[in-house]
C-alpha cells in the first residue's frame, strides 16, 4: 500500500527494460482489462456527454428527458453555478497547498529522519495509512463534533480569546477546507514518502558540500529530486478534493456548496439529469486541462 499511490515516483527510478516478446500475448493480457474500462468508463462518459445535451420534458414525469442537442445546458449550468465552480477549485487548491505543507515535512521525517529505525518508521507509516480504514465519513463527522459550537475546543478557544465570542468553527469555509485537507492528507504524504524513501542521502551531503547551507541544499537538491512525488501527491489530493461534496455537506452550509454538491443534488433531489451531466462534463474537462498543464509544467510527463 505504501508502494501504491506512488505511480509517478516509482516510474522515474529504474531504467525501462527493453520490451520484447510477442504482441499477441500482450493483447491477451490487455484485452479483458481494457474492455472493462471501455465498457464501464469510456461508454458511461460518452453517455454522460450525450445526456448533457438532452432536454427535460416540461410536463412529463419527474426526471423525464428526451434526446436533443441543447447546448444551452452548458451555458445555463456555467452561468448558474459559476460560484460553486470557483469555490471548488479555490477550496481544492488551498487544501492541496496545505496538505503539501503538512505532508511534505511529515513524509521527510518518516522517510529520511527515521531511515535507521525501521520499527519506528513502520509504525509512523502505519499511522498515516490506517485512518483509511476508519471510513472518512466517520472521521469527518468526528471533526464536526469536535469543532461543534458546544464542544470543548470551541469553549477553550473562546476562554483564551483566540476565538471571538460570537464566532464558530463549523459551518464555515475554513471548516470545509480543513476537512478537505485532512481527508486527503495521506494521499499527499504517501507518494512523497515513497519518493524520499529512495533519496540517496549522499546527494544531500554532496549538496551541503557545494552550497554549504541546508536551505539552499534543500532547494537545489532534495526538492527537485522529490518533484515526481510532489506531482503525484498533488494530483491525488487536488482531483478528489475538487469533486468532493462530503466535506461541504457535513462541515459547511449552503454558502460553501461546491460543484460536487450541486451535481449530487441535481441527480438525486431535483432529478435534472441533463444539468447534472453538463456540470460533470465541465468539471472533468476543467480538471483534465489543469492536470495536463500542471504535469507539463512540472516536467513529469510519464506519469503513467
Amino acid at each position: 500500500m505504501t508502494a501504491a499511490l506512488t505511480s509517478a515516483t516509482a516510474e522515474a527510478g529504474a531504467p525501462p527494460p527493453p520490451p520484447r516478446g510477442s504482441s499477441r500475448i500482450a493483447w491477451l493480457l490487455l484485452t479483458p482489462g481494457l474492455a472493462y474500462l471501455v465498457l464501464f468508463f469510456v461508454a458511461p462518459v460518452a453517455v454522460l456527454l450525450l445526456t448533457s445535451l438532452y432536454e427535460r420534458v416540461p410536463d412529463g414525469p419527474v426526471g423525464a428527458t428526451r434526446p436533443a442537442l441543447r447546448w444551452e445546458n452548458y451555458t445555463d449550468a456555467l452561468v448558474t453555478y459559476a460560484p460553486q465552480f470557483g469555490r471548488s477549485f479555490l477550496y481544492a487548491f488551498i487544501a492541496t497547498v496545505l496538505a503539501l505543507a503538512i505532508g511534505y515535512p511529515l513524509a521527510y521525517v518518516i522517510a529520511v529522519r527515521c531511515r535507521n529505525r525501521p520499527l519506528l518508521q513502520g509504525l509512523l507509516l502505519v499511522l498515516v495509512i490506517a485512518p483509511f480504514f476508519t471510513s472518512f465519513i466517520l472521521r469527518t463527522i468526528a471533526w464536526k463534533q469536535i469543532l461543534a459550537d458546544e464542544s470543548l475546543v470551541v469553549a477553550v478557544l473562546k476562554t483564551i480569546s483566540l476565538l471571538p465570542d460570537d464566532a464558530r468553527l463549523t459551518a464555515t469555509p475554513t471548516a470545509v477546507v480543513a476537512g478537505l485537507t485532512y481527508n486527503f492528507l495521506p494521499f499527499m504524504t504517501l507518494p512523497i514518502y515513497a519518493n524520499l524513501e529512495r533519496l540517496d542521502l549522499r546527494l544531500i551531503e554532496a549538496g551541503e558540500d557545494l552550497y554549504a547551507n541546508p536551505a539552499e541544499t534543500f532547494r537545489r537538491v532534495t526538492l527537485p529530486l522529490s518533484m515526481p512525488g510532489i506531482v503525484a501527491g498533488s494530483l491525488l489530493t487536488f482531483i478528489p478534493a475538487a469533486g468532493d461534496y462530503v466535506n461541504s455537506a457535513l462541515l459547511g452550509t449552503a454558502s460553501t456548496a461546491m460543484i460536487g454538491n450541486v451535481i449530487d443534488s441535481r441527480f438525486f433531489r431535483v432529478v435534472d439529469y441533463p444539468t447534472a451531466a453538463a456540470l460533470s462534463v465541465l468539471l472533468m474537462a476543467a480538471i483534465l486541462l489543469l492536470v495536463a498543464a500542471y504535469v507539463r509544467r512540472s516536467g513529469t510527463d510519464d506519469l503513467l
Binding site: 466517520l138 471533526w143 462530503v246
Partner: protein, 268 residues
C-alpha cells in the same frame, strides 16, 4: 548533519511531525472514545462509559448488514481489479505493442476524473440500460476505479525487477509458462499484494461513487452518511475503531515479523 544551521530543522521538524500526527489522529481518538459512550439514539454528547457497544456491535439496526456488504463488495472489487490490473501491468512492462500511449491514457483518465463524475456517468449508463443499481453495480463501479491504481502499483514492482530474470529462467530450461509461474509471479507477489490491499481499502472507504450506484444497498460509509442527520449509533464508532485497530495490528505484526526475519538472516 552536525552543522549548526541544521539544528533548527533537527528539532523543529520532529515537533512539526508530532503536531501533524495529532491532527491526523484526533478524529480517530474521538471516534474511539465515543465508541464507549452510553448514548441513546444520537452519539453527540458524552453520557456515560459503557462496554455495551463493543459487546454488541450489531446492536443498532442495519450497522452490521452494511459492514458485511462493504466487506463483500471490497473483496469482489479487490479480486476483479487485481486480476485485470496485474495483467495490464505485465503487458505494459514486458511487451511491445501498438497503442501503448492510448492504453496509458485510458488508464490515467479514471484516476484524473473526480468521483462525482465517475459516479454520475456510471449511473447515467445504468439508467440508460435499465439496470437497477444495487450490490452488483457497486462492485462493477469499484472494479473500474481500482484497476488504474492496481496497474500503477504492480507496474512499479515490475519495473524494479531485473528484466533478465525471465531470460535466465528460459536459459535454464523453463518454458514460458513455467518461467512465469516459477519466477515472474513469485517476484511480483509483493507488488500484487500491495495493489490488492490498496484496492481493498479504496473500495471499503468509497462513498461518493457508491452513493450514486447503490440503489437501496447500504455500505458502511453510506450507512454512516445517511444516519448522520438522525444521529449515528455508537456501534458505528465501534466498527470504525475496530477496523482501524485491525489494520494497525495486521501491519504491525507484518513489520515485526519482517524485522525478526531480518535479524535471523543477519545472525546466519
Amino acid at each position: 548533519m552536525s552543522r549548526p544551521q541544521f539544528s533548527l530543522g533537527k528539532y523543529l521538524l520532529p515537533v512539526y511531525a508530532v503536531v501533524a500526527f495529532i491532527y491526523l489522529l484526533t478524529p480517530i481518538a474521538y471516534t474511539f472514545a465515543f465508541s464507549f459512550n452510553n448514548a441513546g439514539r444520537s452519539n453527540l454528547t458524552w453520557q456515560r462509559f459503557t462496554w455495551d457497544n463493543w459487546r454488541n456491535p450489531c446492536g443498532a439496526p442495519a450497522v452490521c448488514e452494511s459492514v458485511v456488504n462493504s466487506v463483500a463488495i471490497a473483496l469482489f472489487a479487490t479480486l476483479g481489479s487485481t486480476v485485470l490490473g496485474t495483467m495490464i501491468a505485465l503487458a505494459l512492462v514486458r511487451y511491445r505493442f501498438r497503442f501503448r500511449s492510448a492504453t496509458n491514457l485510458l488508464l490515467f483518465l479514471p484516476m484524473a476524473t473526480p468521483e462525482v463524475v465517475l459516479g454520475a456517468a456510471l449511473l447515467a449508463q445504468f439508467l440508460n440500460l435499465r439496470v437497477n443499481p444495487g450490490f452488483t453495480t457497486i462492485v462493477i463501479a469499484h472494479i473500474m476505479f481500482c484497476i488504474s491504481f492496481v496497474v500503477v502499483t504492480v507496474k512499479a514492482r515490475v519495473a524494479t525487477l531485473d528484466p533478465h530474470l525471465g531470460e535466465a529462467a528460459s536459459d535454464l530450461y523453463a518454458s514460458p509458462r513455467v518461467a512465469f509461474w516459477r519466477v515472474t509471479f513469485p517476484l511480483l507477489l509483493p507488488g500484487i499484494a500491495a495493489a490488492a490491499m490498496l484496492a481493498f481499502s479504496l473500495s471499503f472507504d468509497d462513498f461518493i461513487i457508491t452513493n450514486f450506484n447503490s440503489g437501496n444497498t447500504d455500505t458502511f460509509p453510506k450507512f454512516v452518511y445517511v444516519s448522520a442527520t438522525r444521529g449515528i449509533p455508537a456501534q458505528a464508532n465501534v466498527i470504525g475503531s475496530a477496523m482501524f485497530l485491525i489494520a494497525l495490528l495486521v501491519v504491525l505484526i507484518g513489520q515485526v515479523l519482517a524485522a525478526r526475519r531480518r535479524a535471523a538472516a543477519e545472525a546466519r
